[in-house]
């Protein structure tokens, strides 16, 4: 068992070393940080075609290909304070990232190959902060809107764009020079392969919620409830007197456990004065004093 554990540690160490060497950070610029992960979140970085796990706090680099697994979700904060929410089985490439200062001159380009993506981009006034262009196989979305959802269905080969806040401009990939459609809050448009966007439609509250439901993650996806690092769960003693045989009194642990009192009377004398104080047969003394001749 010990050898197995040692071997496991060696293999783990080698793998970690390889992982570190195979995911270069310096060659590409850091564009964001993973804030939440539920399930699998993986990255394909640089020329390396293998998928590496991406953990909370991990960096997202320009040109990274990111994907989530089935029953998974993730949240990434970009350095322009935009938030990308990934649904299950989503794959995205950060083709280009425009820092905040360049946002007016250059758009950030995200390529959504499949799945669901929600973009939140707001400034302190509540308006859109960045300027994103999102490409799917069937649509191009130019958005300065504070919040919107893009969903590409690989099987159906169509893109759904849902407005959450602000106006989102959507075009088909075949007609980028054509006039696109503008999708407002609680509206959606669908772009089929080789088609132009459908006219925007209002969504029922249920359908609107359904597009975003799978994007909700509670916290970082780690266990963050208050029991997580609680001393009780960590198998620590909550009180100094949480010891066998005690009755629950509190007090620091130090010195001897014993506190004997000073010597005193015997146990019987403590519990009965009548026993302790009268130790001689008084009638016998009345009958005959010591040293005296017994009465006839």
């Amino acid at each position: 068992m010990k050898a197995t554990t040692t071997g496991f540690r060696i293999v783990l160490g080698v793998m970690m070393g390889l992982a570190l060497t195979r995911v270069p950070c310096s060659a590409q610029s850091d564009v964001g940080t993973v804030a939440s992960v539920v399930g699998a979140l993986e990255v394909q970085r640089g020329r390396d075609r293998t998928w590496q796990p991406l953990l909370i706090g991990g960096s997202v680099l320009r040109s990274d290909r990111i994907r989530t697994g089935s029953d998974a979700a993730a949240k990434i904060i970009l350095h322009d304070d935009s938030v990308l929410d990934f649904g299950a089985e989503t794959q995205l490439t950060v083709e280009r990232f425009a820092p905040d200062a360049d946002a007016q001159r250059q758009r950030s380009l995200l390529k959504l190959a499949q799945g669901t993506l929600r973009v939140l981009q707001v400034d302190s006034a509540g308006g859109a902060r960045g300027r994103y262009e999102i490409e799917t196989p069937t649509a191009v979305i130019n958005a300065r809107a504070p919040a919107f959802v893009v969903q590409y269905d690989v099987r159906g080969e169509h893109t759904d764009v849902v407005g959450v806040e602000g106006l989102v401009e959507v075009q088909g990939t075949i007609g980028v020079i054509e006039q696109g459609v503008q999708v407002g809050p609680r509206q959606f448009t669908r772009v089929l392969k080789g088609r132009l966007p459908s006219p925007p439609e209002d969504l029922t509250p249920e359908r609107f919620a359904a597009y975003q439901q799978s994007l909700v993650i509670v916290g970082t996806g780690s266990r963050e409830t208050l029991d997580a690092d609680h001393p009780l769960v960590a198998a620590r003693l909550l009180r100094p007197d949480d010891r066998p045989g005690t009755t629950g009194r509190a007090g620091p642990i130090e010195g001897s456990y014993l506190r004997p009192k000073g010597p005193g009377e015997t146990l019987a004398e403590q519990y009965s004065r009548d026993l302790g104080a009268r130790t001689q047969p008084i009638p016998e003394f009345r009958y005959q004093n010591p040293g005296e001749v017994p009465p006839n």
Partner: protein, 521 residues
Amino acid sequence: MKRRRGLTGRLLTFWAALLAVAVVRPVPALANARSQALYAKGLIPFHAGRWDDAYRFFDEAVGADPEDALAVYYRGLTEARRGLAEPAVTDIQLALRLWPDLPGAPLDLGVLYFNAEQYDQAEPWLQRAYQQPWSRFVAALFMGVSRLRRGDNAGAHQFLSEAATDPELRPAAEYYDALALFREGQAQAARERLTLLQTEHPDTEVGRAAAEYLQTGAVPPAAPVPLAAGARRWSAYGNLAFEYDSNVGLAPNDVGIQRSRSYGRQSDGRAVLGFGGGYRVVDNDQVSATLSYGFSQSLHVNLNAYDLQGHQVRLDVATPPRPWFQLGLSGWYDFYALNYQTFYQEGVGVPWVTLFEGRVSATQFYYRFRSRDYFRGPLDPFLDGYNNAVGLRQYALLGAEDRVLDVGYQFDDEDPISRNGNDFQYQGHQFDVRVQGDLGQIAHATGGYLFHLMQGDFANSRNVSGFVRRDAQHQFVIRFERPVAAHVIANLTYLGTINVSNTDEFSYDRNIVSVGVGIQF
């Protein structure tokens, strides 16, 4: 390995629960984009334990959308991590109102109330968490310890046994379950749990505590509490008992002697009243001194001539217990009246030292001087005299703070003052053993046996053959005490004495059974 599997399993369960919540159950009303973005930004410092930074983002998020349930919830969690329990409770309860199915929130509220030792308030939240599959076992752990704190040991055992089925929670659950079993009086089962715990989880704090207990039988005492300003310096007691005494006059067992003396064995019942109190006149880092007084009066049903009244004034001076020793001096004066007439008085002085051997054993050495003076016949002046004694007593814990065994030996020399008192001059060897401890939650029990061999120095005037008197006295004590209300303790006591003497006039036996109730403050 078990721990890793348990943790992974719980995380997978947790993720599955979160997804189930997100996908199947209704999500809260969607917060505005700004609030959601600020909440998301707060998660990074939150995950890194930078609570102040996290709080700032969550607080801004709540400002952007006061109905963002997740932002409110995480502000509450952050407040809890910063030690601000009250606002944490407020925020988490608000988050639950905004999103009634918010996972984790009931458990968090239960833990917050648990931490504040508000177990009644914790219970309903922990119950809610217990109903959720992903938090069932951890809620069971907290509920178990909560029940233990409230004195519901059976309830604690039920929940802790269930919590112990989760590998990650097993060490804590088994340890606290052992405590519950101890307090239920199931010491054997408790020890079995601790044995398993120290084997399977030796590196945990509870595993080490279990090992310490099993190896040394030791438990830490509540350390002496320094006298705080305004702390109570006085103590008081009162008691009332009804006793049966099989041989009030200590008549000899020999019926022939009884007949020849025209007195016989007489049993009787009596009531015994006692009260007293003490006052700590000095209490500092160097010394403490307590002055106390006690009064007792027995009232016999028939044999009123044996009604005994006692007064005792006592002074106890001692240093605080040092790591390896304690010094003390005790002295007391007794005055007795028999049949409401002066009987005798005595003064006793006892200097002593206690040496602590480690944490579970101590030895006490003492010298005792006693001077006794009878006021009137028939015992005056024959039993007036001095008694010098030296003794030692060895104390040892038997696995619990209140379970103590002590064994003592004493040599004493009785030196009567009057010439005819030589009948009672002796050198004595006394051995005694005492044990006390709790019988579960039923009662506190004390048992003792004492053997006192008294070898006379001179021929006894009652022995025609002229050999010296030799007495061997056996004393037996069994006492049970049980609290029946605050400050009120009921007791049942048996006291037995068998005095075997080569002088038949002094051979007797005596049995006393006492039922009483006492109050202590």
